[in-house]
Amino acid sequence: MGLLSRIATFFGRSDDDALSVPPMDGVFKPNTLLDSAEIVLQLAGIDNLAAADAMIYCSSGTVLHRIDPRRGSAAVVKSFDAPITAIATSPSGQIAIAIEKLGIELLSPQGAGRLINLATTYAACVTAIVFRDEDTIVFTVGSQQHAMSDWKRDLMSRGATGLVASLTLSTGKTEILSDKLAFPYGLANGPGGTIAVSESWRHRILPLRSPGQQPATALLADLPAYPARLASASDGGHWLALFAPRRQLTELVLVEDDYRLEMMATIPPEDWIGPDFGTGGSEEQPLQSGSVRQMGIMKPWAPSRSYGMVVRLDRDMTPIASYHSRADGRMHGIASVVELDGALYAASTGAGTLLRLDPASEALS
């Protein structure tokens, strides 16, 4: 800690208190590529894309769907008793499905299901899964205090109880790889057996070198939005979905304990100040003054609750291109993407839409 920041901390202005939000500039310069992207199909609450055998698996609430991206049709695979929170596929076609508060269901390529129970603190909030090999999965637990559907409460409680764990499928044995994370939301296999984790509430991507070792410096930090799932790109890099924008007002509320605690105690979460997957919904939702419609137009730069953003990262996790849906757009709340047969598929949870993008298009800067 440098002298200046020491002094700042002494006077109650530590780095954590700074309310500045990184600007969307440089590689993150906004565009409207997500809004102009091809719409594959509409499916309410679509999330958790995973590709297997030229098909895309996704969730819509409690239902697992299989989408044929070429025909734009979806078929129900299986319904569960609770919302699906994460899906992953293995090279051999196994599908791992995390179900809120139950555990991880393993579907064999033939369709036989097997539920692996997890500790209740883990099962409520499995946010992402990757297969390391056919017998081992790594999964993230966003929070040990709040369920996935209560993610906003975890953010507003300044939650940092997330962890990354591995699970051996044959034995059901779990092992914690890293903990005290502020809502890990995405996972990706990096080169040489490394794992990258997106830590959403701290707006960064961390490396996870080997079990037990604490994460070192971030691979990518100071993101202008809350990162969600990571997906592998065919060129060896990654895709990062960012589900909601950071706003100064949210940062302010996070340090305003009195206001925040009373808000959490007296107001339903959908009406809180903070990020969201989509606009609309309750008429009680807060508004920021830059988002007031002027002359019949919502300004694209308005400080909206939701936003659509997908970033392409190279092998070193350096961002090289970005795709946006701005305040006046609709394709907000993209929490998962998948690359399949040279096309990028993005699920806009806010708009309930599956989009197809051409990764070779003009977004490459």
Binding site: Q248, Y259, E283, E284, L287, V292, A302
Partner: protein, 703 residues
């Protein structure tokens, strides 16, 4: 929780910090610190020197002040014009020489000698003025050169006439009276100084030449663009400086009767110190006569005190120089940071508790999409139609943010024309009985447009309240108006603390910053009726002709005020705890009233209204575009009965066409909608309304 809320409420009722911002926004705050410095200096000197305040010392001080103060005023005028005059000391010496030559050497009558002295000052000042004003030379270098030139002239002439000056004494009782006479205990020279100072004060603060001078000093280019003759103004500043210096020199000569080789040497530094200490900004455009005098007294007391403490003269000069440096430093910081501090502390939120809204099963405010079927008028042709009103031929009138009133022609409203150009954004509109269109214009006042389009001001000020720090006599944001049967105009002023462009900041404060005002055309008088209203907005006269309904936007309530009859002066709430923020109120058919809801309450904003400290930190720490705001992206129109019963509610949920509806106007079975931040007017058919009803008929029972 309730206890702490009550405490918060009390704290913000009495100590909201509003005054800090308001005091900082006054122009006299520039002099407040010099006054404090003066008091401290006087106190220090009084403790160090026992008989500081003896009559003799005060008389002597006031004579010195007369001369020194006049030169300080001279420099003040020049600095306020954006320049500097270093030659005042040499000019002073030359003028003293002129006065003494006239009186002592030539033995001229006192009037002629005075004319000679003034002429010397005038010529010296004119030379500076022409060089700097018309030939555009740098003020600093020019007056530095003339300082040397005037001093050289003095040094050439003075030794040749020194013995003649000392040798002769003029036979003029008036001359002696000027030097030593007193008038009711005050030295004559001091009285002359006081008269001149008052005249200059009035000129600088109240008259056109003074305003022009400050404009030129504050922003030369803008002054030029505003049509001010910059060159002449600058030149006149130096000429005035020369004249004032010569008057000071004349008084000095009368007092001392002689001069020396060192007369006026170093004077520019002490005068400059005085002026800067007084708070005259070296950047130009800021300052006042009072500040100059305070600075002059400060420097005089300091130098005299130091002399009486037998400090050597060189140390004296050193101290003066140090003080000047500190004062200049302070001045630079003050000018730079004052605006910043002001912008940080001016917004002063207060506690405003709105009751929680419980939603019964049969909530009259249940959402619907009835405003979706709206027909659009003038899409893209109008910007900011805050209010809409129709005349007897069903033509539609609305104000725009371009400062015009636009008329859409019946019956299809496809064609429009500019009916009148106002200059400010017309908000509330109402027709008087004789067909005049009355309008509240943001930032200007209440204006009247006759049917042929002639614009006339009705009123732009009201009585000033004694306890208000900011000047509340000018109308800042008149919002809506209505006309009583006897022709009196009742209008609301939404806030006295913010201009038109910043009206949303008032939402953050939630204080009763607004008022209800009445203008009586028969007497021409404007009086404030109610103060402390929370953003009073819509106004409509009730059908009894004795009372009116007004909306308080941030308080989400409608109240009734009786201006005549048995209940005169009383007011009471009619509808409270609305789900949104009421804007304009207008009469509807069947004895009803229409209320436009600007936006919807949200729980988060209601909570913020109970947390003034949170809102203040929000205003300070994050950009205005990021501030929390009520949800004004939805539109709602409510119909109520006179007793406040909710009769009908129409919504535009998505806010595609009509977010933040600010006014409604029913006419012949249609409802017209306006919005202050919209670019269209809406019209919707009311199936149950009386198809012949017009507001004009309802008000004046004609047509």
């Amino acid at each position: 929780m309730n206890n702490s809320n009550a405490l918060t409420r009390l704290r913000y009722k009495y100590f909201s910090g509003r005054l800090v911002g308001e005091i900082l926004s006054k122009s006299w705050i520039d002099s407040a610190i010099p006054v404090l410095a003066l008091l401290v200096t006087v106190a220090l000197m009084a403790s160090a020197i026992p008989d500081l305040f003896s009559i003799g010392y005060m008389t002597d001080l006031s004579r010195q002040l007369a001369e020194f103060g006049l030169v300080a005023l001279a420099l003040t005028i020049v600095i306020m014009s954006g320049g500097i005059d270093l030659s005042v000391g040499s000019m002073f010496a030359l003028c003293v020489l002129a006065a003494l030559v006239g009186m002592n050497v030539l033995g001229l009558p006192i009037g002629v000698a005075l004319a000679m002295t003034l002429a010397t000052g005038l010529v010296c000042g004119l030379l500076n003025g022409v060089l700097i004003g018309y030939l555009r030379l740098r003020a600093f270098i020019t007056t530095l050169v003339t300082l040397v030139i005037y001093r050289a002239i003095y040094d050439i002439i003075f030794p040749r006439l020194a013995s003649a000056i000392v040798g002769n004494t003029p036979e003029s009782p008036l001359w002696d009276f000027l030097g030593f006479g007193e008038f009711y205990g005050f030295p004559l020279s001091f009285i002359i100084f006081a008269i001149i100072a008052i005249a200059i004060h009035i000129t600088l603060s109240r008259l056109r030449p003074g305003w022009r001078l400050r404009a030129v000093g504050g922003a030369r280019k803008s002054a030029y663009n505003a049509g001010i003759n910059v060159k002449a103004t600058v030149c006149m500043a130096y000429v005035t400086s020369g004249l004032l210096t010569s008057i000071a020199a004349f008084l000095f000569s009368a007092r001392l009767g002689s001069t020396g080789a060192d007369t006026g040497i170093g004077m520019e530094i002490s005068v400059l110190t005085a002026v800067v200490l007084g708070g005259i900004s070296l950047g130009g455009g800021r300052g006042s006569v009072g500040s100059a005098i305070i600075g002059a007294i400060l420097v005089l007391i300091l130098t005299n005190g130091l002399i009486r403490l037998s400090t050597p003269g060189s140390v004296n000069q050193l101290l003066l120089g140090l003080i000047l440096i500190i004062a200049v430093l302070f001045d630079a910081q003050w000018v730079k940071n004052r605006g910043k501090i002001l912008s940080k502390v001016y917004v002063s939120p207060t506690y405003l508790e709105l009751p929680e809204r419980v939603r019964p099963k049969s909530d009259p405010f249940a959402l619907n999409e009835r405003l979706r079927e709206v027909e659009l008028i003038g899409l893209g042709d109008v910007e900011g139609p805050e209010d809409v009103v129709l005349d007897r031929n069903d033509n539609l009138y609305t104000g725009t943010r371009h400062g015009t009133i636009v008329r859409f022609l019946a019956p299809d409203y496809a064609k429009s024309e500019i009916f009148a150009r106002i200059g400010g954004h017309p908000l509330g509109l109402a027709f008087a009985e004789n067909g005049d269109l009355l309008t509240c214009v943001g930032g200007m006042g209440v204006y009247k447009v006759s049917p042929d389009g002639t614009v006339a001001r009705v009123t732009d000020e009201t009585n000033r309240s004694w306890l208000s720090v900011i000047d509340d006599s000018r109308l800042r944001l008149p919002d809506d108006l209505d006309i009583a049967p006897d022709g009196r105009i009742f209008f609301s002023e939404a806030t006295i603390r913010y201009e038109m462009a910043d009206w949303v900041v008032d939402a953050l404060e939630g204080r009763g910053n607004g008022r209800l005002i009445c203008h009586d055309p028969s007497t021409g008088k404007t009086r404030t009726l109610l103060r402390g209203l929370i953003f009073p907005n819509g106004i409509t006269i009730c059908r009894d002709g004795q009372s009116l309904l007004f909306a308080e936007t941030w308080a989400c309530r409608i109240s009734r005020y009786w201006f005549d009859g048995p209940n005169k002066g009383k007011h009471g709430v009619v509808v409270s705890n609305l789900p949104g923020y009421p804007d304009n109120i207008n009469r509807g058919s069947n004895g009803t009233y229409w209320i436009a809801l600007l936006g919807l309450r949200t729980r988060t904003f209601d909570l913020a209204m109970r947390k003034p400290a949170f809102r203040r930190r929000m205003a300070r720490r994050i950009a205005a575009d990021e501030w929390l705001f009520p949800n004004v992206n939805r539109g709602c129109v409510v119909q109520i009965s006179e007793s406040g019963e909710i009769l009908d509610v129409l919504w535009d949920l998505a806010g595609e066409n009509h977010p933040s509806i600010t006014s409604t106007c029913e006419n012949k079975g249609y409802l017209y909608l306006g919005g202050v931040s919209n670019n269209r007017i809406g019209r919707i058919r009311l199936p149950d309304a009386d198809p012949d009803w017009t507001a004009r008929g309802d008000y004046w029972r004609k047509d």
